[in-house]
Subunit: 240 residues, 2 copies
């Protein structure tokens, strides 16, 4: 059975202007690989309702899971929750369970749960809350879309809250082998290897270091004996 | 007149598996902001012809420019050039000008221009070559799609080769102001600022440092006097 599929949707002008570096996609990619869920696509869109709604609808229809990052804070440019509700034609309002979490959090700090902070309790109808152990304001899951914060520490915590509840496929195993030759020398023998090992996929990732060209060749498969055989073959074709 | 628009398309399984961190989008984002071209969207797709072709067609139709990264080397998983040709129903073959560049390069190194390396001279019909001062194998521009290498050093060099030929709009000016208060306290006065300065856009980027919450507020506009007025207002609303 093929693995479940997923897409990442990063929401935020600050990524597209080059102001902020998106690190959440890389984190999610690693976590999903471990969980045997195939990340098939990642997108970054701006803080524009039409762009967000269109991307959510398309990715949600196309993949088993969608993970979003960003736009669920208290300020005027935090529009993700409203866009998710709009994408699924669902109503959205302050919800009692989310409000209670925020109320307890701000009471404990002696801070007021003002109108701006209360925006973070706006949850689309029918969504399940995602726990936020860092700063309390919850994320949520609506249908197959998991809506999480953009601040990396909070995003990581929310991914950790969500992932155990999702069922992955058979884990993809991989082995990596460094070859200190240019890709142009590697390509032909590697193509023969690809032909000899049909249930193993090979990636060739070139690097340039101290003026020398080389590449890491990564063999991947869900079939452990086949992977081991392919790796032995790889080592013989490109001796250390 | 609005600025020209652009999209980035990163091609590569290694990004989606979490093996490699994409740094090219961040670099391009900064360069385009300086050139007054608005990066509206970024995508990562896997080494799958259908996914690449569909993304190229969609992004090319939607934006003024598309920049791609990855998949133009000599190995079996380098399929970008063929996919670009397919996306535009154009033929592709080894082209004499590209072959001459590679021939000179490998001759100078005493290396053979073998079949794998010659794959890098496959250029879609009607494309213009993009100079690669790092490792010679050229990128190319076909219609509004600029096809570049994934290795960051080469990607940077190719962006530098392409950008001067593109016409940007009026540069977007920005000023940033740090506020050492939580977003929940910032949101309401910031919303009033947004209302008072209609030609300025405000972004609020929260951070958490040493247990304290704060945010950088960035004001952006193409109108310098309006931006300056908004920034003075911002500093008065949130004194240092």
């Amino acid at each position: 059975m093929p693995n479940p599929t997923a897409a990442m949707l990063v929401i935020g002008d600050e990524i597209l202007s080059g102001r902020t570096h998106d690190k959440n996609t890389h984190h999610l990619a690693g976590q999903l690989t471990e969980a045997a869920i195939d990340l098939k696509e990642a997108r970054v869109v701006s803080d524009d309702p039409d762009a967000i709604i269109a991307a959510v609808r398309e990715l949600s229809a196309k993949y088993d899971h969608v993970f979003t990052s960003g736009g669920i804070g208290p300020t005027h440019d935090d529009i993700t929750a409203d866009c998710i509700a709009a994408a699924f034609d669902t109503s959205i309002d302050v919800r009692d369970d989310a409000r209670a979490i925020l109320q307890a959090h701000y009471d404990a700090q002696g801070l007021e749960l003002n109108a701006a902070r209360l925006r973070m309790a706006r949850i689309p109808d029918g969504a399940a809350l995602i726990d936020n152990p860092v700063s309390k304001a919850p994320g949520f899951t609506l249908k197959n879309v998991h809506v999480m914060a953009g601040v990396p520490k909070i995003f990581h915590a929310m991914v950790a809250s969500v992932l155990p509840s999702l069922t992955g496929g058979a884990p993809l195993l991989s082995q990596s082998w460094r070859v200190d030759r240019g890709e142009g020398d590697i390509a032909a023998p590697l193509a023969d290897l690809v032909d000899r090992h049909p249930v193993v996929s090979f990636g060739c990732y070139p690097f340039q270091k101290d003026g020398l060209f080389g590449a890491n060749i990564v063999a991947r498969s869900q079939d452990e004996p086949a992977l081991n055989a392919a790796f032995r073959d790889l080592q013989q074709v490109f001796p250390a």
